[in-house]
């Protein structure tokens, strides 16, 4: 898809294929979310008791971190539309650093649970908690790798005001990673 098609407003920013991928990913996460919600309906006490042992502050900080990272990506796209490739690269670097903060906090959470002897087989809640958050964790890593590739190309002057589909494609994927975490956070950490 070229830039002129995007400006008609019919297509969302980025490559057509990434949107098919995004919708497929949303479907996968949606099934995961509903499996959790209906499993909880049959084990309310177990889920509520186990949820109390989660670090809500870490979950909330990670939400703020991902939202901010997404905002930086929006600014990166705005910068390249102004033909400011270096500024775009700087915003992308800031977004990647925030992704690293997210991963570190999540690793801290995983490590804490490991230290407490909690595994996938501890109970149904932790099976969902660990698998859902690890599934998302892998998406954050993939998103950070994509943003890094886009940033390096932007730094080399590989994008212009006229042709910057790669920035929008990477950005759209990153926003999807943010969007699913915004649902995951209240579902797993707060709703009781």
């Amino acid at each position: 898809m070229n830039a002129s098609v995007q400006t008609t407003g019919r297509y969302p920013p980025g490559d057509f294929a990434i949107w098919i991928f995004i919708y497929a990913e949303l479907l996968a996460f949606g099934i995961f979310f509903l499996s959790y919600a209906f499993a909880r309906a049959n084990n309310v006490e177990l889920f509520n008791d186990s949820q109390l042992l989660l670090n809500r502050t870490a979950g909330a900080i990670n939400t703020l971190v991902l939202i901010t990272s997404s905002y930086f990506v929006v600014r990166a796209v705005a910068a390249i539309r102004d033909n400011k490739a270096q500024l775009c690269a700087h915003w992308l670097l800031a977004a990647i650093l925030m992704a690293c903060v997210f991963l570190l906090i999540k690793l801290f959470e995983f490590y804490t649970k490991y230290q407490e002897g909690i595994t996938l087989s501890t109970n149904t809640f932790y099976m969902f908690y660990l698998s859902l958050t690890f599934f998302h964790f892998m998406h954050v890593i993939l998103g950070a790798v994509i943003l890094t590739a886009v940033m390096l190309k932007a730094r080399r002057g590989g994008y212009t005001r006229e042709e910057h589909t790669g920035v929008e494609t990477g950005g759209s994927y990153w926003h999807m990673v943010d969007l699913v975490w915004i649902i995951l956070f209240p579902l797993v950490y707060l709703i009781r």
């Binding site: 407003g9 949606g30 309906a41 502050t57 905002y71 915004i182 956070f185 209240p186």
Partner: protein, 86 residues
């Protein structure tokens, strides 16, 4: 100073997240609180879709897919919660 729409969106998202954390820290639960949390989540995710992903200026179908998805997923989470009460 005039803020960009994406900056307003970011500020609203941060504010709603902090409000949700306050609810979580207070250990609040129940149907009313869960409804508020799900409504806040719907607002937050639609804002991300519209102003971060750029769907507000995309064709209706592209935007509708995400909106219907959000309504379905968050609605079903609400239904599962309601079932757990009975």
């Amino acid at each position: 100073m005039k803020l960009r729409p994406c900056t307003w969106t970011w500020l609203i998202l941060m504010g709603l997240t902090l409000a949700m954390l306050a609810v979580g820290k207070a250990g609040l639960g129940g149907a009313g609180i869960v409804s508020l949390l799900l409504l806040s989540t719907l607002v937050k995710t639609q804002l991300v879709a519209d102003y971060f992903m750029g769907l507000k200026r995309a064709g209706l179908l592209w935007r509708a897919v995400v909106t219907v998805y959000l309504l379905l997923v968050l609605g079903m989470i609400g239904l599962a919660y309601w079932l757990s009460l009975s």
